[in-house]
Symmetry: C2
Subunit: 227 residues, 2 copies
């Protein structure tokens, strides 16, 4: 892993005191600090993809705090590490949500630095998709130092292992993006565990770990007489 | 298959002129006509299960007509056979819904008699679940005449082929029933094609036919090096 600069960045979020934004450029860098320096290129050429990486890495899936029900609003993953009592100080009243929504939110909690690492891993995977833009030397060297060597067109869906093309970020079916951030273990959000998958593969995996999912579908094929 | 009485029944639905409710007791029966005679026992002892069979057999999944978006409201499957123009006469404005919602609704359309046959098939399956109540002779003979011989505790999840217990109708996880009505081919709603499955199995199958699903997961296991 790399050594980050780590300098605190301005943070106007109401949750600023829970986790301070930090600079993740390399230690001793010149010029301006940046929280997501590895997204610099992508933010210019493919803003939607860069925004998706940042959002998936740092935010839980939706829970509409106002309606007390499942919904479209997301919340920072590290905020969900707080206890019910601490959350109440931010006007987030966990006990007013449906228990299933609470469980889903709590499951997606992760410390700030794990979220940054997850964003780096996702960016590293995205640049290795078929049809992906080529990163600048600066970004590539950063990603390779952080995660490992990169090879063109080697990223596959973590679940079904078929290649997933960068172009699929633009495609949507029934209003839903075809590619999603997935987790080998849905209850752990960090660089090791995070990856990319087809939406339908991610849905099929559900709340199982990837190993549990493979064992499950093997059992299905056996019982259905297909093996 | 059996011969229904077929006598028209009172129908106060605003869609009464699209499909006339009919009596589905056996031709030449004595006593009162009934649209769902095969649900007679279950309606008394397990109303929720009987209601679920009737609802799943005759209604599409949700689309909130008022919000122009996906939502909880269901509509009669045979109503969705009408053209956009015909639907507008019932104040159902298809063009105001999201295209993905329209596609989902249209896919779930089915003629009235196919829905009745699907309800009979589901009832037949339910009575063969482990822990199911025993049907009266009258209901059993009706179901056997309609579909075929019945054996106790032989109903399995159509997808994963594990037994599914009648008690699971009472269970819910994260607010969702554990058992769902499924379709071997999600685009056909009739007795042959309809069955029961675990919710997670039904979700994993998604919009694939069951054969496509088995081929798909076999490919996944092969590529993941698990076969």
């Amino acid at each position: 892993m790399i050594e980050f600069c780590g300098k605190p960045l301005p943070n106007r979020s109401k949750y600023a005191d829970i986790a301070q934004k930090k600079c993740h450029r390399l230690q001793g860098h010149r010029g301006k600090c940046s929280e997501f320096p590895f997204l610099k290129d992508l933010s210019k050429t493919h803003k939607r993809v860069a925004d998706k990486i940042r959002r998936d890495a740092t935010m839980t899936t939706g829970a509409a705090w106002k309606s007390h029900d499942a919904g479209p609003n997301r919340i920072l993953r590290w905020v969900m590490l707080l206890s019910d009592e601490e959350l109440a100080r931010y006007d987030l009243f966990i006990s007013e949500l449906r228990p299933d929504v609470v469980a889903k939110l709590r499951e997606k909690a992760a410390p700030y630095e794990d979220c940054i690492d997850a964003a780096i891993k996702l960016t590293w995977l995205v640049y290795q998709m078929p049809d992906a833009p080529i990163p600048t030397n600066e970004v590539r060297e950063y990603l390779e130092a952080a995660i490992g060597p990169m090879y063109m067109a080697t990223t596959t869906c973590e679940v079904c292992r078929l290649p997933i093309s960068f172009d699929m970020f633009e495609e949507a079916k029934r209003g839903k993006a075809l590619i999603e951030t997935c987790h080998k273990n849905p209850r752990i959000h960090n660089a090791d565990n995070v990856s990319l998958a087809h939406r339908e593969c991610n849905i099929a995996q559900g709340s199982k770990t990837l190993d549990e999912f493979y064992a499950w579908i093997e059992g299905i094929l056996e019982r259905a007489g297909k093996l």
